[in-house]
Every structure is written in structure tokens, then in C-alpha cells.
Subunit: 230 residues, 2 copies
């Protein structure tokens, strides 16, 4: 205990600890199944507060949030997705291309709202603390905010899907984002009735999960099997 | 409900939901106060599993973990911190330099263990899904893993401190990290008796927290007060 430091009740009860692990384990990337139930403003506020609580280098708090409900804006984003996705589809060879085309990769129009989370990595807030050697931690701080929001949403029964098949310049143009601000995550949010037990990309056979053992090493880096093979 | 999809019990009880918000709100960047109580292997395993559950673009799971207990390795990292911190200190002008010098910015040797979380952004896993337009999402996936671990640690009574005042090339050299692998976060982990009610950088007067209202906009980007001023 540091002198002068106000402490908070530190210990989590077993059920509380389990709830945190449950949110982590059952969080999914949700692109379908949004139900027709509006998200109250207080709920959105709780989710954004959770994001805003994220750690940030030097306490710079670089994260910015654009709540997107306007259907014409979402329509333009959806167009941008279709363009980017067409280009992505063309990169796959025959069998995989069919599999790719069958995946549901966004819920821009089906979800009742979208949220773009951005970062201002050049903010003077935080006075550069921690950013001399690793300036990328400014944007990493915003990614931590995304994950906070995602877990809070899981606990609220709200599905979140991250759409990265978007050209960042098109996104900037549609949302009037200045040059120095970086769009980090484009999310679709809405209530769902249920969450899948496994990731959609695993269920559909796109990719399998890698065992935890393969990615842990001790005191120095150990190349994984896959890395060694390439 | 999608056909063929196994669903999990979706709804969180109020206490469970509150526990998730509690972990998010009371998580702190911890650099002191580590107690002399070893972290059991099963605990570390739970934390790494939580990290490994993080969302990843295309289910590529690019995150890699190096658990660092060896004191000679930690000594070398600590040296690297001192060098980087000396250079950082020199960038501040008089008053702020003193304030900076008084901050506790790492717990490399005091914490019972360190953890380096890295990313393999070039992995072929995930078959490039979601990475054509935003390849940076590979590394973002690893940052999500960091935040998962941080929240799980809070629920376990384990303090986590992120040290970004390290030259990434030195870190690579000390931990034998290959060129293509990116060190994302260097963390100090250990049990603590309590967590501060507010961020250390706020308590010490280094920076204040920005109100949530200032960073939210609707349907298009709105420049914050600070951004407008610069």
C-alpha cells in the first residue's frame, strides 16, 4: 500500500472472477442475428464509458468515438465494404474463393447501430510519456478501448462485429475524419438472442484454433511449428 | 439463432454484469506494491488462456507469449529500460523533468514475473481474411489479447504494469525475437494487496482524465476542443 493512495476493495469473489472469465470466453465476433430491440442511450453510455476506462499510455486517452445511426451514412459505408470485399474475394483461388464468398463478414445495415473507434496518436495529452521508444502505444491504447467495450457488450447481451474489410481512406472520407486521426475499428452493435459456442470462422472450416501451448515460451522466443516451417 | 449453431447461455445476471464493469473500472497500471507471494502456474495458465481467447482477424491468432522469470534476462531488460528512460528524461524541460523523474514507470525486478506479448503479423493463418485493407488488425488482435489478460489479472488480484519505455530492437535482441515478430507489450505481473482508486498519473498530477462527452460524436467526426486549438 503506497502512502496517500486511496485503495479500492481489491478482492473479487469467485462468482465475480468467473463472470469476467465468462465474458472473455464467450465473446464472439457477431455479424448476424441482431434482434429488433433498440439499444437504450444509457446502455450505449455504459459501453462507451467502459471503452473510455481503457489503459492509455501516459494517460493520454487518445480514443475518439463516432456513433453511427444515420442510414445514409451506413449505406455509404456498406458500399465501401462491398467494393473492398470484391477486391478481397478476387485474391483467393477457386475453392477458397467460394468458401470466402459464403462467409458473413459484416452487419452494417442489419445492426441497429455502428460505432467507429478512432485514435488521435499525435495528441499532446500525456506529454509523450511512454511514447519516445514505442509511439505505436498511442494507437494500442485505443485497441484496448475496443476490447473493453467488446467485453462489456458481451455482458449486456449485445453482439459486436469488427469490420476491417474497409478502405481506411474511404472511411475517413465518409465520416469526415481529419488526416491526423486514425480509424482503428469499425464496429456493428446490437442486441442478439444468443452467442455462438465457437467462432464462426472455426464453425465454417475457414481456420482452426491454435493450441495455447504452441504460442508460449520461456525467457526467450521459441519459434512455433508453423513459423519454423516457413 | 442461426441453424446448426450451438448457442451458449447468453444472459449475464446483474451481479455478473457488474463484475465485468468492476474489472474494467478498477483495473490499474501497476508498477509497485507487488507482494512476496508466488503466482501459481495454474493462475498464469488462466491468464494466458484469457489472452488467447482474444478476437483475432481471420482467426489468425497471431499472439505469442514469453514468460520471463530468469533474473539475468530481467536484469538486461531493466538496463534497457534505464537507458531508454534516461533519453526520455532528457527531452523534458526543467519542471516537468523533475516530475517525470519522480514517477515509478516499471516494476521489472520487483514483480515476480514479466511477460512479453508479441505478434506474428505475417502468419499465413487466417488466410489474409480481413487483412487486405487493414493489415494492422493483425497487431491489433494481439493488443486485444493484452487487454483480456489485464482484466483477468484484475479479477485475480494480480497487478499488471505495461512498460513501453524500452527500445524494441534491444528487447528483440535480449529475448532472441526474430525480425518478423513484433514485440507489442512488455508487462510486469504479480499479486498486489490493493489497487489504487485512480490512475497513478492522475494522482501525481501528470495528466487529468478527459470527460467522455468530449470524445463522442455522431454520424461524423467532430474535432475535440484540444484538437481544434492545435
Amino acid at each position: 500500500m503506497v502512502e496517500g493512495m486511496v485503495e479500492v476493495h481489491s478482492v473479487f469473489k469467485t462468482q465475480e472472477r468467473n463472470a469476467v472469465y465468462r465474458a472473455i470466453a464467450t465473446r464472439r465476433d457477431v455479424r448476424r442475428g441482431f434482434v429488433d430491440k433498440p439499444m437504450p442511450d444509457e446502455l450505449l453510455r455504459r459501453l462507451l464509458s467502459a471503452a473510455h476506462c481503457a489503459p492509455s499510455v501516459g494517460l493520454m486517452q487518445p480514443s475518439r468515438f463516432i456513433v453511427i445511426r444515420d442510414l445514409s451514412v451506413r449505406g455509404a459505408i456498406h458500399e465501401a465494404f462491398l467494393e473492398a470485399n470484391e477486391r478481397a474475394t478476387a485474391t483467393y483461388s477457386r475453392g477458397r474463393r467460394e468458401q470466402y464468398a459464403n462467409l458473413k463478414l459484416e452487419g452494417i445495415l442489419e445492426a441497429p447501430q455502428n460505432l467507429c473507434i478512432l485514435s488521435n496518436p499525435h495528441s499532446e495529452r500525456g506529454h509523450q510519456l511512454g511514447r519516445h521508444t514505442m509511439p505505436e502505444t498511442a494507437i494500442y491504447s485505443t485497441v484496448c478501448a475496443v476490447q473493453n467495450l467488446w467485453l462489456a457488450a458481451r455482458a449486456e447481451g449485445v453482439g459486436v462485429g469488427w469490420v476491417s474489410i474497409l478502405d481506411p481512406d474511404r472511411l475517413r472520407e465518409i465520416l469526415h475524419v481529419p488526416e491526423r486521426i486514425v480509424p482503428v475499428a469499425y464496429l456493428c452493435l446490437g442486441y442478439v438472442d444468443s452467442f455462438a459456442a465457437e467462432p464462426e470462422l472455426e464453425r465454417s472450416g475457414w481456420e482452426t484454433r491454435i493450441p495455447l501451448e504452441e504460442v508460449i515460451s520461456y525467457d526467450q522466443y521459441t519459434t512455433t511449428e508453423e513459423e519454423g516451417a516457413h
